[in-house]
Amino acid sequence: MTQENARSSIEQTSSLRYARTEAERCLQCFDAPCTSSCPAHIDIPGFIWMIRSGNFSGAAERVKTANALANVCGKVCPQEEFCQSVCTRGKQDSPIAIRELHWFATQRERHHGYSPVHPSTVNGKNVAVIGAGPAGLACAFELAKYGHRVDVFDRTRPGGVPRLSIPEFRLSQDALESDIEFLSRFFQFHQEEVDSRRFREITSGCSATFLAVGLGIDKPLPIPGSALTGVIPVLKFLESAKTAAAPGMSGQKVIIVGGGNVSLDAAATARRGGAVSVQLLYRRSEQEMRVWKGELNEARRQGVEILFQTRPSEITGKTRVEAVRCRRTCLSDHLDASGRRTPVDIEDSDFTLEAGTVIVAIGQNPAAEFLSLFDRTPAGYLRVNEEMGTSVPGIFAGGDLVGGEGTVVQSVAQGKRASRGIHAYVSR
């Protein structure tokens, strides 16, 4: 045995032992709160029991039956927000490391060979899925299980946000590919741009359509100076950071504007890219911040400075960004559409921060032009009913297009819900 083999064998033994020890801590609750709080409704006690019994293939099957993006979620799911936050064992000592066990099961299957699935019997209708992100993939997977023929369209290879903008340090390409590899057998994939003309062709050629094209256009920052060189929309920043042409952050002072999970990803990415300082501006307080606690702590641990109740009022510089004028805010008792207290500027509270790069992460808008056909919510997202049906009969929608920036597992859940609506619709 070489040194390297010896080490990897030790790692395998210890991860196996860790998994089984952790699995044995699980109380195996009935009607378990972890499963109820998982948007994809994975039978968590069920797969943990299988790890415990040494039936690792069975455990992976359990996970994948409920969650099409099993490996992706095994890495990026904010477990402290969902399953682990309600784990009964947490009332005794500490919650079960559910996501770690989930990851263990799916990765083990990956390295030991996939379980064979039912040969696909196509006996239903043709359904088109536009957008191959988590929602689209989950929906396609469920529809294939119902026996429908599914065609999936996307301008890039399947994966959506996990492929394009989740940083490599949070989700390896490899984990994503393992899910795509598994799912690809369930549908026909067509890599093409879907414009209005193609949209009409596709929708008229099938019994129902699921629309999950995501967002894609960064909201511009409506302040003076936002056109200066060095002001980068967050998606562009994250996408380029995943390719070889990563923007050099070395020695830079970076300011991130916006307080969401994407902002935290950008902050951590900038830090890893060699930025000397990363400051994040958020106009409300920590309480209103809609981020996963773990991500926030991680960003702080990496030295990201977070300025709450602060907003930029102007970006200054000759051709490049040189500084950002900031203003302090206070929170009024007036609640906005999101149910959060509205920030109000505090007079004479301006101050200036030096910066070489400003990353704008204040949210995204839907991009596709054919979306004008549909009813929208005041925030600009597609309006859908309980079954994820849009205002156009036969067209269903899910993912970020419907809910705004969500998490992978929420998109999976929407894809699943839509598949039931679509199945009912085409079976009428």
């Binding site: 010896a6 080490r7 030790i10 033994t13 210890s14 032992r17 044995e24 195996q28 009935f30 009607d31 378990a32 499963t35 409704h41 039978d43 069920g46 029991w49 299988m50 415990r52 019994s53 040494g54 039936n55 293939s57 069975g58 099957e61 994948k64 039956t65 409920a66 379980s115 064979p116 699935v117 039912h118 469920e142 299980k145 119902y146």
Partner: protein
């Protein structure tokens, strides 16, 4: 009250085909090797229905007896052997047989066979007199039971004619009674449930074989005293300061059962239904490897519910696949050629080998060898212990003391003469 729950509704569409685990034993078709043992879980029609609909292949309904044998239960009846923080490593009970009237058990058999014709419905019986044994067999066979299991070995109370002693502890009584029962059965197989509390299990098994009965169920719970409160001196389960001997079941008794089944299978040609300590699919594989043709479960179901059948079936299916076995019957007896008398064991020079790279320096192996082995492990400045191969006999203690699983036994020299 909330009706149902996640294990009675099917919310996901399965993508993984359920592998066929069916096979035949005792002229009965079994969907899989997993049967519920005679216990509280099989005493109620609703419960057995639920188990069947969840995938159990069969159930032995809780032991019934004839009228006139009043069952006088005492509560609480369950207690736990807790081991290193885990409760129910062993379960103790002072339960007796079913409180249901035989009419009710007959009705349950009839109803279950009507609703689940493809499931194996067995009935467990216990009696004293010949007439009683035979009447029970006749009535239950007529009701449609697929198999009769006779409890010759319930250790908890005594309903038999010989208080304080289990029927299956007497070779002669076992043979006579087993004959009565077999005589009364017209078509269906009869299995005798025996106890491991005997001097020679093989003698008992031979007596059952001579009686003409079709199978053995091996084996019943172990007679046990579950623990004593060291301040009040009342053993558990404690009923106003009093207690009695319990029947011990669960993971704690698995090795005893394995030995019992193996010893029967090595010596007597009779099908064995294995029971006593199996919890997961691999336990069932072990039971079958030493000779059981099917496995009965009880304690794990009482602890975690009927839902454990999902993993039993899935785990068994993956195992058969991995091993290239066509049916669960392919497992039966595979371990038997590997069991030999001590004299026939190979004599080799082996020694302990510590994987230095994996060692976490706890020095537990050093301590165990110093105080319980052969003082063959030395300490080193870096705390990675060093085995002195001159002194090491290869006893194997350190391998199991090591919390990091980094010690193994390596063979130095094969085939030493004694």
């Amino acid at each position: 009250m909330i009706e149902g729950g996640p294990d009675v509704k099917q919310s996901e569409i399965e993508i993984y085909p359920l592998r066929d685990l069916s096979y035949e034993i005792l002229n009965l078709r079994l969907e899989n090797p997993f049967i519920l043992a005679a216990a509280p879980s099989t005493d109620n029609l609703e419960m057995v229905r639920r188990a069947f609909s969840m995938g159990w292949a069969g159930a032995i309904l809780k032991t019934t007896s004839v009228e006139g044998n009043r069952v006088d239960l005492a509560y609480p009846m369950m207690t736990s052997l807790t081991h290193e923080g885990k409760s129910l490593f062993g379960m103790g009970n002072i339960d007796l047989i079913s409180e249901h009237h035989i009419d009710r058990v007959e009705y349950n058999v009839r109803t279950l066979k009507k609703e689940f014709p493809e499931k194996m419905v067995g009935a467990s019986i216990m009696a004293g007199k010949k007439d009683d044994w035979q009447r029970l067999v006749e009535r239950l066979e007529q009701a449609g039971a697929d198999l009769i299991e006779c409890s010759f070995s319930c250790p908890q109370g005594n309903i038999g004619e010989d208080p304080g002693k289990m029927l299956a502890q007497s070779v002669a009584a076992t043979e006579i009674t087993a004959r009565w029962v077999k005589e009364a059965s017209r078509h269906i197989p009869v299995s005798i449930k025996i106890t491991p509390h005997v001097t020679d299990i093989v003698e008992v098994a031979r007596a059952v074989k001579r009686s003409g009965c079709d199978a053995l169920t091996a084996s019943n719970s172990l007679q046990a005293l579950m623990g004593v409160d060291i301040r009040t001196f009342a053993p558990s389960p404690q009923l106003d300061g009093k207690s009695t001997y319990s029947g011990l079941t669960g993971p704690a008794i698995k090795p005893v059962t394995l030995r019992t089944i193996a010893e029967i299978a090595r010596n007597v040609d009779i099908p064995v239904l294995g029971t006593g300590g199996a919890s997961i699919w691999s336990d069932a594989v072990e039971f079958m490897a030493v000779g059981a043709v099917a496995v009965e479960f009880c304690t794990v179901v009482m602890h975690y519910g009927f839902r454990v059948i999902d993993d039993l079936r899935s785990g068994m299916a993956h195992y058969l696949e991995e091993m290239g076995f066509a049916t669960p019957m392919d497992i039966v007896g595979r371990a038997l050629p590997h069991i030999v008398p001590h004299d026939d064991l190979p004599r080799r020079k082996i020694r302990s080998h510590i994987n230095d790279a994996a060692c976490i320096q706890c020095e537990l192996c050093y301590l165990a060898c110093r105080d319980g082995g052969h003082m063959a492990i030395d300490r080193t400045p870096g705390r990675v212990p060093h085995v002195d191969w001159e002194r090491c006999t290869g006893c194997g203690l350190c391998e199991y003391v090591c919390p990091e699983e980094c010690i193994s036994m390596e063979v130095v020299e094969q085939g030493l003469s004694v």
